[in-house]
Symmetry: C2
Subunit: 256 residues, 2 copies
Amino acid sequence: MSEPSAPAYKGPLFEPLPRQTAAHRISSAIEQKILRRALHPGDPLPTETELAEQFAVHRSTVREALRRLESAGLVGREGNSKKLRVTRPGHADTVSRVGRALALDEVTFIELWEAMRAVAPRTAALAAEHGTPADVSALEEIVAGLESARAADAAVTQVVEFFGKLAELSGNRVLMLAMQPVTRLLAPSLRRMIDRVPQGRTRILVAQRCIVEAIRTRKPDEAETWMSRHVQDFRRGYELADIALDTRVGTATLAD
Amino acid sequence: MSEPSAPAYKGPLFEPLPRQTAAHRISSAIEQKILRRALHPGDPLPTETELAEQFAVHRSTVREALRRLESAGLVGREGNSKKLRVTRPGHADTVSRVGRALALDEVTFIELWEAMRAVAPRTAALAAEHGTPADVSALEEIVAGLESARAADAAVTQVVEFFGKLAELSGNRVLMLAMQPVTRLLAPSLRRMIDRVPQGRTRILVAQRCIVEAIRTRKPDEAETWMSRHVQDFRRGYELADIALDTRVGTATLAD
DNA sequence: GACGCCTATATTGTCGGACAATTCGACGAT
DNA sequence: ATCGTCGAATTGTCCGACAATATAGGCGTC
């Protein structure tokens, strides 16, 4: 090889090596203990002063570390107690974080829809396999709520809840975590669609009734098929409503 | 009704109303500015001292707010600069957070697998629609890497990368975000499977070759079908390897 | 002018200490 | 046992300080 300078690496050879601040080391230490399950959810953390002593740093430093863990959802308080306890990142928490990441990435409607198309039918099938009668009546209640909802906003909320409940019924936490951010982000578009395509609402209602029925009678295949149609319908509705498929989702819904 | 105390509400009547600390208000204020796009990625934040003046609080308080935003991925530094800048939560960041949440929830193998079953085939189909020749050769390189990988660990890494790349090719950031945590969490089980079922590796190889081929020749349906089989194979492999389907995934892989 | 070197300044990370407001925990009264 | 009461513990916030270091400006060289 007469060309010794051809770089064998792609991209920058060295990443800037992150400087480890004391606060960072402390939060990492606690984080590791939690992830390694040396600390269980519910366990109380030592007080700030104790931690400061143990780590031999100032309390302010401990505080910064704790704020970081708190924001990561690894620790938190219940009620408005003072004691920080180990928690696991709640679903709601993770869901909203994922939603925010997607919204800031300005994902398009079609991306969300494709995700729905992939996930929702299987979710419905699983729900049909696992759903109990109690679950089914919860679903029916949501559908009834959709039927009687007068304001468009209320209707949209019901639809979002329908999918959320369905994911819950599937008994699959991964699918749950996948569906919820997507439905929440789809909500604003759905709202516009309902406004512009009057027949959309009844179509949604019919499809959801069929899905619930399939779940009630424990027919996974039927649930899956109906859900596929339901999702297809969504897209049709959007096209009818003249919403461009590459519309970017906004962050308007994320007013936590 | 002779029982007047039957509560019309379910659960606790009042949630504990969250006390708003100054640090919390400050981080919320900045967060809103970012989410509402008044601050764009790359924009530098004022210095801590300036923020402290603007909010009329002490610098320590500002610091706690900043740590929170930093942990949320909304602000950060590039290189080891001192200036904090607005950033968007990187994919890697969000992926690892979701993975952690799922791992701490102790989701089972079957849940992960169901998610793969739902998402992967569609992802492959989309990859076949959008993949460029350059993309295809990147994929081929990964598959070649799998073929020549001698250590089981290396092989697993290649498989994870294959799925990651595939999601990237699909051009769908939602699917990308859905697939990556799942594949990463499946990795340890996959590793065990490969150890115990020698023929597993070649089956994986064959399936992935077919998938790549389908993408190269732009046949979404074929890609989808092959991916379905591929995912089914995974499950078969696990059963052959005598891994219980309700095995909980561990947090061992999450040593950041 | 473009480039490198050097110095002054600004900024961050950490520290020490302080204090009001709350919560916690024990203790006694009902 | 349940309910108030009271002191101690804990948190949220503030003040001020200082070393380390990134940034910006100035100066000389080509």
